[in-house]
Amino acid sequence: MSSIEHAADLPAWAALAVAFFLVVGAGLTLIGTIGFVRLPTFYERIHAPTLGTSWGTGGVVMASMIFFTVLSTRPVVHEILIGIFVTVTTPVTLMLLARATLHRDRAEGNPDVPGEAPAQVLVEDGAATKAD
């Protein structure tokens, strides 16, 4: 598993850059997931994986882009798409999940979560027309 095929053609700077980004990306991902296991509440845990989806992914994407661009001596940028899609789609899942959790907690009467639409806001904006 330690041998890297095709890597012999890689110049040293590129190899080091790839190595750096790999270590950073994978390391951040691991740290994020450790947090995911160790943090006590769901609302805290939800922050942890974002390390993986932000710079964790970013690092690996960078490593891959550098590696293949240098290796094939032409710009290989399609990995950036992975970065973009992960960045765009992760919030969707996290938002939906967090909100669902909030609802479940409220339905169960969990005192640690804020209630639906705080009262003072209701008073303020009670007569406001709805958006859209």
């Binding site: 991902t29 769901f42 845990r45 690996v60 999940l97 909100r99």
Partner: protein, 93 residues
């Protein structure tokens, strides 16, 4: 020298990622709540995607890229559905 570093970096990255996957799987099994499991699955997906990308670098082939891209682009659909199920008890209304 730099290649040795790269090799070790690669090993390190793979170990990190597979450990991360294992931790996600642990959370998946342990819960305690459904949302934890769903979030763990999402994390597992992302970690797997990264592992596959590292594998791509390791083999020097771009042909494994699509698999990662599919996870990156479509993996969230399953999580969305799961989350919506938790919120509404129903996936499509």
């Amino acid at each position: 020298m730099s290649h040795t570093i790269l090799s070790w970096a690669m090993v390190f990255a793979q170990i990190c990622l597979v450990l991360a996957m294992a931790l996600a799987a642990l959370r998946m099994a342990r819960g305690p709540r459904a949302q934890d499991r769903v979030l763990a699955l999402d994390t597992l997906y992302v970690n797997s995607m990264l592992l596959l990308m590292v594998f791509g670098i390791r083999t020097g082939k771009v042909i494994y890229f699509e698999a990662s891209l599919v996870i990156g682009m479509l993996g969230f659909v399953a999580t969305v559905a799961l989350a919506k199920f938790l919120m509404r008890g129903e996936v499509i209304e």
